[in-house]
Amino acid sequence: MSATARERPADAIRTARAVRAGEVRAREVVEAALTRIAAFEGALHCFNTVTADAAIAAADEVDAAVLAGKDPGPLAGVPIALKDNLCTRGVTTTAGSRILESWVPPYDATVVRTVRAAGAVVVGKTNLDEFAMGSSTENSAFGPTHNPWDPNRVPGGSSGGSAAAVAAGFVPLALGSDTGGSIRQPASLCGVVGVKPTYGCVSRYGLIAFASSLDQIGPFAATVADAATLLDVIAGHDPADSTSLDVRPAPLANILDEGVGGLRVGVISDFLSDASPSVVAAVRDAAEVLAAAGAAVEEVAIPALMLGLSAYYLVAPAEASSNLARYDGVRYGLRVDAPDVTQMNARSRSAGFGPEVKRRIMLGTYVLSAGYYDAYYGQAQRVRTLVARGFDEAYRRFDVLVGPTSPTVAFAIGAKTKDPLAMYLSDLYTIPTNLAGHPALSVPFALSEGLPVGIQVLAPSLGEGPMFRAAAVLERGADPEARGPIEPRLAGVRR
């Protein structure tokens, strides 16, 4: 590290190595994370719940294992934050909604068990747009999360709390969920790495469902190597998720230094026309970095991808309206009493859901209703096929594709809350991936007016290997000041 470079908190890989070797105690690591959270959380609001006591206890268990000569696992003693739509037994899981404000799940999501079994220590549940519906984390019933790079700006969303927690140096690792860009877009806006794995690669058991054919859990980290390490831990078949793949991508941690020599990289030209000039410049620079490292880089037009947003805002609300029918005041969550059960259902849902969730439930109910089903939902499913075919054709010529993650850098809190459609356009470049079930990630690359710009790397199903190799090259060629963790900037917070 050069003398001018910022001092960074230890990454997950180094932390786990030191804890496994008995050089550092997990308890010290976790206490340092909790101290940093205590110092900045009031200004940033990354968390809905901080589980300090349970984290200390879990860290002590990791230390006891090391002392007993046992290996606590590849994430030994590494603090991790969980998006608050991942079920945690005994710990409130709100999905950012009033309707689940005091719900305590009776079970753990599979990923929660997996990261604990690998030695990671859960420090809390992160803020999100209600039921993961949003692109700014402003739709949380518990107030917005602030971007550590500029607290008057959004962290992106819906996994904004997880992205901001890594960017602020609270934790080296976090988990989020990505239905239309909800990991990659906040990663881009917060200057961290965010990965949406191949659909079916990571168990969704215990993820509160939004749109089941699109939802996928994935990692946030400050570095590509840390993100690969976490994905290696959480990927794998789970009999509890019927959409879980029987195959898994080859382990990623060992291939990151393989480079991009001979890799065929397509720059998606359709993603450059509406992006801001600084974002377009970053993509062009990224293409040069890959070419200089030996990749064969070419522009490619995939016009079908631009149909993705429209198809998504028919398919995702349709699935959401069905998934969220379960919040009826009977088995869990908020109930508002009424003389008969139908009124009780309606009053509970009306009091419990926020405006964006109601909007999407109504949109989904409408497009699924008699007389409109074929014109809207049926057509959207056919357009989904066109998006997938557009990708398939491109992947006959290219191993990976690159483009912007978000059309802009982080925008001001409140800038898009009155215009839902403007907010939806934040996900223009991330949505097609979910419709096709492919993997994609965002890696921090450049700064524009002091704010990070992420580059998106996309790959075909189970193409995580080439995708991570390209991301590792981009990380080495990136502006080192463009990535977290940073010392959160707190001056002039308007709250």
Partner: protein, 100 residues
């Protein structure tokens, strides 16, 4: 196709979706949902005659396994999360209008 999302449409889908809306909410949602549908309607005009629908990104086959008993969630813990429970069951208001 008729202009999407009139006030009546909002009232209709809100009833289907079990949502109670105030009058000002109906107006606001009608305007917002019409604007959203107007944008996404771009895809409704596309010729997709020979394009099969995609419901899911995976080619899903039915998953079968042996029917072996396994652990289930403890009943009391599940009922603890319910708004109202009685005698080991979820309790709800009258469904068919009988006296409570």
């Amino acid at each position: 196709m008729t202009a999407p999302f009139s006030r009546d449409d909002v009232v209709y889908v809100a009833r289907l979706a079990r949502l109670e809306l105030e009058a000002d909410e109906v107006d606001r949602y009608a305007a917002q949902l019409a604007s959203i549908l107007d944008h996404v309607a771009a895809v409704t005009g596309l010729d997709t005659t020979d394009v099969p629908p995609t419901a899911h990104p995976l080619e899903l086959a039915n998953v079968l396994r042996a029917d072996t008993p396994g652990p289930t969630l403890p009943r009391d813990e599940v009922l603890d999360g319910a708004p109202a429970a009685e005698s080991g069951r979820f309790r709800v208001p009258p469904i068919l209008g009988e006296a409570p």
